[in-house]
């Protein structure tokens, strides 16, 4: 999925991993910031820790999100950031979705 290089405008071509709303929100937030703590992402997106953790694990497995655990003072903190691959995938997803909505309706219905 992340290595898909399909040009065109059908829904089946978009990255399903990013297409899920919660994961899209995570990716979008990490796209606009350099790095964010797990807690910050959780507060901004409005997910429970367990739910966010599950989504982050999937994005991490796909190589889209880097998870960095470190101590700040005596407190353990988890930082999330978008990898270069994740950034590229997000841009690609947005481009494909834009194509999907801007391309003529007939083209989409033909290919569907």
């Amino acid at each position: 999925m992340p290595d898909d290089k399909i040009a065109g405008g059908t829904l089946s071509e978009v990255d399903r991993l990013i297409h899920e709303p919660a994961r899209y929100n995570i990716m979008a937030l990490l796209y606009v910031v350099a790095k964010a703590e797990f807690l910050f992402v959780q507060n901004q997106i409005g997910l429970t820790p367990g739910n966010l953790s599950a989504h982050v694990s999937k994005l991490e497995a796909a190589g889209y999100v880097a998870v960095e655990k470190k101590f700040v003072g005596k407190m353990p903190r988890t930082f999330l950031s978008l990898t270069a691959r994740g950034r590229e995938a997000f841009e690609d997803y947005r481009r494909k979705m834009k194509d999907l909505f801007t391309s003529p309706l007939e083209t989409r219905s033909d290919s569907d």
Binding site: V32, E37, F38, F40, Q44, P49, R94
Partner: protein, 206 residues
């Protein structure tokens, strides 16, 4: 599907969420109160120079407050290079304010120029620089505080003949200072209720 604009809006929303803790509002409230206190201290015979040390309170306050109150609740975030360069710009503006106004204040006080006139001069010099700082900081509420600050200085000069010192300063800086402080505290309590401290283990998930 979020457009380029909505990504910018998302970044701005994330950035501005770091201001919803009311810390900077409280800082401004303290700054106004210090201005009132300086006048009060001077009226009871304490040197204005000693009073100026009170400025350390609003200067020092934000950093530990952010570290102890905001970060454990909201989490840490590092914004992109654009914000970083804006932040560097802000530091230059703050440095410009200090280097332009501090020697002037010292010089004017040294020559025995009345405090009101000194502050009027500082306001004229500082306001444009201050406005640039607020623009760089991207914190809209602070425009209001900056405008209020200048208005209070001018009002203080007008009222000095009618009320005398320190009553004019208490009215012109103390009252707005208290109002801003209360606004800041309201933001802080709202923030603390919205973002309670979470279990570190849960925050460490992922």
């Amino acid at each position: 599907m979020k457009s380029e604009d909505s990504l910018k809006a998302l970044e701005r929303k994330a950035y501005r969420s770091t201001f919803n803790d009311g810390i900077y509002d409280i800082t401004f409230g303290l700054l106004f109160l210090v201005l009132a206190w300086i006048s009060v201290l001077e009226s009871i015979g304490i040197s204005r120079f000693i009073g100026y040390f009170l400025f350390l309170i609003p200067i020092i306050f934000p950093r530990p407050a952010k570290r102890l109150i905001t970060v454990p609740r909201l989490g840490m975030v590092e914004f992109g290079p654009k914000r970083k360069s804006r932040r560097r710009g802000l530091l230059w503006v703050v440095a410009a304010i200090v280097f332009l106004t501090l020697p002037l204040i010292i010089m004017m006080v040294g020559r025995g120029i009345p405090a009101g006139q000194t502050w009027l001069f500082v306001a004229v010099i500082g306001l444009p620089i201050f406005a640039i700082g607020v623009y760089i900081m991207d914190f809209p509420r602070m425009y209001l505080y900056a405008a209020l600050f200048v208005f209070c200085i001018i009002q203080s000069e007008f009222l000095i003949d009618y009320l005398g010192e320190p009553l004019n300063a208490v009215l012109c800086f103390g009252v707005p200072g208290l109002i801003i402080l209360v606004i800041g505290l309201a933001f802080l309590f709202k923030f603390m209720r919205k973002y309670p401290i979470q279990d570190p283990e849960a925050s460490h998930a992922g």
